[in-house]
Amino acid sequence: MVIENLRIPSGCSISGIMNKKGRVFSGNDIIQSIALMHERSNGLGGGFAAYGIYPEYRNYYAFHLFYSDKNAKEETEHFLHQHFDVVLGEKIPTRKVKSIKNPPLIWRYFLKPDSKRILMSDIHGENDYVFSCVMKINTCIKGAYVFSSGKNMGAFKGVGYPEDIGDFYRLDEYKGYIWTAHGRFPTNTPGWWGGAHPFTLLDWSVVHNGEISSYDTNRRFLEMYGYKCALQTDTEVIIYTFDYLVRKQGFPLEIAVRIAAPPFWSEIERMPEKGADLLRTLRYVYSSLLINGPFSIILGMSSGILALNDRIKLRPLTAATHADFLYVASEESAIRVICPNPDHVWAPKGGEPVMGFLENTP
């Protein structure tokens, strides 16, 4: 055995940066941060989510799509024209990077939902309409996959090391006020472009390090409410869980967190009755949405970010603040490489969320 070649699997890496004032900055910082944790990924997946990157199209849904071939593209575009007013459809600009091989066709569209169609359907509101269109394309059109569908935000991902993916998508040329990134060490899904993180739905994006032991419990619950888990990966249930709790059930994020990573019963019993009763009821009613197993996640949305660990912190997560910036990452070094002297650095406890919200909506 040659010791030099021995590889120790170390899971994935995640990183996130936000500017609370909504000031935009290029993708260089996040690429640098995630690149530092190169050893935590294995070149089979990397990706980024960025908010605030399409200010000129801020009122349109920005769909990013992977196509395996021209037929999938034609079929999808036909569907899009039927269901939306397509303001712009174009190839996402990329640059040649030696290590990035066999990319699919990568396109983006800026869309306005057809309001007549919404009125005629039994769907309430634009978001639900877009949600159902995304589910339809991803499950019904062979070879087409929507990997980003929010407004003024976008995901960029693929098979490769994250820093190479960032270079490939020319992220240095975009400016956003929130950036998240992921380096992947896949163990449970084949390394395909759609399987890389972040996963997104509407405004949500998630990067995730870990494995969800409760996957099938979560999935089978969510599928009762219109979600279709088509990606052969456990991460998508995280985003659907938050989408269901926040968008469909109308809970604030603090409550959604308490459902996804609730306190132990023994902790609840020690709390003052008023708070305990709330937590008891939430755990009872939404028990199928407890996300079990080791995880650290960064959830992105246009209003801010949420970083969260599983209840017993089986994955690393560090947070830091510096002036208007909030940083979260798998390792402290990934923060210090771009912010050498943060004001405050801490390791959040299991189940204890780190939340950062924009002070003014951009």
Partner: protein
Amino acid sequence: MALSLKMPEFLIKRQADTCSKCLLCVKQCANKVHYYDEKKDSVLSVDTNCVGCHRCAAVCPTRSIYILRYPLEFRRNAYWTEEAITSIYKQAESGGILLAGMGSDRDYPIYWDKMLINASQVTNPSIDPLREPMELKTFLGRRPKTVVVEEKEIKGEIPPKLELEVPIMFAAMSFGAISLNAVKSLAKAAEKEGTYFNTGEGGLHRDLYRYGNNTIVQVASGRFGVHPEYLNAGAAVEIKIGQGAKPGIGGHLPGEKVGEEVSKTRMIPLGSDAISPAPHHDIYSIEDLRQLIFSLKEAMDYKKPVGVKIAAVHNIAAIASGIARAGADFIVIDGFRGGTGAAPKRTRDNVGIPIELALAAVDSRLRDESIRNEVSLVVSGGIRNSADVVKAIALGADAVYIGTAALIALGCHMCQKCYTGKCNWGIATQDPQLTKRLDPEMGAERAANLIRAWKHEIKDMLGGMGINAVESLRGNRLMLRGIGLTDRELKILGIKAAGE
């Protein structure tokens, strides 16, 4: 008298050199197997009477009694088996229905044993329950579709629910079918372990009202012992439509078993037969069931959950869905291995379907209809060990009931003669000479031990899967793999094959 063709099932062998002639076996056997022959000065046996309950062997101080299968070879015949032939002898002699106790003992597939449980390796750390919290707390009830939170408080009412420290309860077994000491043992054990026992259809004896917080009271077609105080004494009510051992037929407690206490508890005359009709005479349709559910809820001021128990039959998924929509807070499905004090043997052995398949079908159906979260699912009928419990929950159950396993913990030896009322272990009998053999304190200890032992095992298996709360196992079918199953069976169970 004509020659009887009934032959013994067991052969008693006594070690003459070690037998001390203490005659304990003679005193202990209610079936009158053993007797003392003065002339020969030795203890002898009538093999034909032996039911194979092992009481004599267990009490024999010198271990001198051996109980063997009676060596009676029938000519080999794959079709006309020994069971087929001897059953005809019995019916030719009696002209009656064949009776049997406990669940079906036939060689049908056991799906529990064709499912394997997952564990974590490397990518997902397994969790050690001795070091980390491991939660088994389970609730049964109707979950609301949504919860409104204002100012950190819940707005509106959350329907009543049961809280279990462990997802295992003691199944419905009536006072009458089993002894008061047996019921007491289970009641005490339920209290100790933070779970529930079920009265069965025999009412609630006065001595048991103090265990009300751990009691589920049953309302069955005979309505024995049902009155407002009874309904309100328990923590929940269960309407019994059917049971796995005898779907579609009623029950019959012979008058000999209806002594003073049973008579009072059931509110029927002393010594009269207690007949439970096959259907409830006020339930001839699903809308009638809905009325009974809401009558009971009214009677309890909507403060306690109301469940419905049904036997696992062919169309179980649609029936369960109807029951959920009729307003039940929890549904109990009892599989064809479910035990009973007495059932017609042909019904017991041929009617109904395995609980594993029924559970999978019901859970899937309720999910297809998006109502699974609104009703709790309890399964019973042949849960033998903690692995069965884990598999049931992974298939989609919230909790399980154990009946047979609980009685075995109390000393039952599965002789299947419950209907004779001569249970030598003091369980399925009302004979005071026999019932006093079961000390409720000791029985409670043993039943509680069983629950605790299973609890440890469940925690170990959960931790192995990288799960630290039992609700994350519920319906988590990816944690199961099938072995030796057909594609069709895998599809019904909703699981992948081992290796996939």
